[in-house]
């Protein structure tokens, strides 16, 4: 049985851990607010962007004329995995990694090769040790997500796609549904399909439809817009993952703090019991001693 001193030390230690987890919870809550704000700020841009893309898609263009839209037989699939840079956020990164691994294995079974582009340290570290090749990695950028980070990834991925080193690109990220729920979500980003866009256009429809003047012609505009569209989607995924990471950390730290409190309660109980039995034993000794003197 642990001595009184041991239990006391343990209680002190756990109290300190609880303080740390409590602090991390509060930091994550503050950061979450910032991350959510950035998501909000980005929304008008993304919405307008899809609106314009929808407008162009409605202008009767032929998808096969654009290298970024043309589908071809898929031999190699690339997965862009967006994870956080830091750990201690529960099963958030583990879920993303698990989903990615499952996807890549499924591709392999269908005879396609799988490879990765990792954004965020956690995914990168995991897949370094896996048989799947990592063609691109951007780490250490999740603390301060900037458009040019997304552009860098986008440029790299587009280059690989155009050089026919990969035939399809999927994007997986932790979608922020609410503070309690974040879900790994996968989207195809290359080749770009116009299906989803026409829907977006339907949602934006306001006022009568008019004939647009294009400057320069629609093809030219689309050629400029398509690479930017890829960047916008990557940016979006990064912002969502950023917010999800903080939300996930908040929950994880809250759980940790609660677990610490439970442990402290248990240990206090054990401490009191040990103290009681020590006192009882001492009393028995004294009584025994007094009895013997009679």
């Amino acid at each position: 049985m642990a001595s009184l001193k041991d239990i006391q030390l343990k209680i002190v230690g756990i109290k300190k851990t609880a303080q740390i987890t409590q602090a991390m919870n509060m930091v994550a809550a503050a950061k979450l607010r910032g991350a959510q704000q950035r998501m909000e700020d980005f929304r008008p841009y993304a919405e307008k962007f899809s609106g314009v893309m929808g407008e162009l898609a409605g202008a009767g263009i032929n998808p096969d004329a654009f290298p970024l839209m043309a589908a071809r037989p898929v031999k190699k699939v690339m997965l862009i995995l967006v994870t956080s840079d830091r750990g201690l956020c529960g099963s958030f990164n583990a879920n993303l990694i698990k989903a990615s691994e499952k996807f890549l294995k499924a591709q392999q079974e269908e005879g396609r090769e799988g490879c990765l582009a990792c954004v965020g340290k956690k995914g990168n570290a995991f897949f370094k040790k896996s048989p799947f090749e990592t063609l691109h990695s951007s780490v250490g950028i999740m603390d301060n997500i900037q458009m040019f980070n997304a552009r860098q990834v986008g440029q790299e991925v587009i280059k690989l796609f155009l050089e026919k080193k990969v035939d399809e690109v999927q994007l997986i990220y932790g979608r922020f549904i609410n503070v309690a729920v974040q879900r790994p979500t996968m989207n195809r980003i290359l080749p770009i399909s116009t299906e989803g866009l026409e829907e977006a256009e339907g949602g934006e429809a306001e006022g009568p439809k008019a004939t647009y003047t294009y400057e320069p012609d629609p093809e030219e505009i689309l050629n400029q817009l398509l690479p930017m569209f890829v960047n916008v989607q990557i940016m979006h995924a990064m912002l969502e993952t950023g917010a999800s990471e903080q939300a996930s950390r908040m929950t994880a730290m809250d759980n940790a703090t609660r677990a610490c409190k439970d442990m402290i309660d248990d240990l206090t109980m054990a401490f009191n019991k040990a103290r009681q039995s020590a006192i009882t034993a001492e009393l028995m000794d004294i009584v025994g001693g007094a009895e013997a003197l009679k």
Binding site: D41, P44, M147, E206
Partner: protein, 136 residues
Amino acid sequence: MANKILLEVVTPSKLLVSEEVELATAPGTDGVFGAMANHAPLLATLKIGEMHYLNEGNTVRIALSGGFCDVSNNRMTVLAESAEISAEIDVERALKAKERAERRLQEAVARKEEIDLARAQAALARALTRIQIAGH
């Protein structure tokens, strides 16, 4: 209002401008164009340069780093990867960016790297626009 057009300048980090203006001009790839109230629908790509808008006698200048512009339903939406109003431009940073871009340009020319060259040129153009606009 009848004689005004709603101008919105949107960047990935924020909605920079949302205001009813009398006139807005933007640097289109095919040349600078202006839009006033009830402009015909237009979709144009923009290059790096200056846009400005006029409202109640005040002219506001904005440094744009490319993007595109959609005019429809008496509303002009400018989507730019980055945009800064003249008063908010950090001149020192722009000057540093200019120096850096010039250095990169020389390196790229020396090594004959076309992609790097194009990037350096774009960076230089962005920096020069910012400096020029801030100077007024």
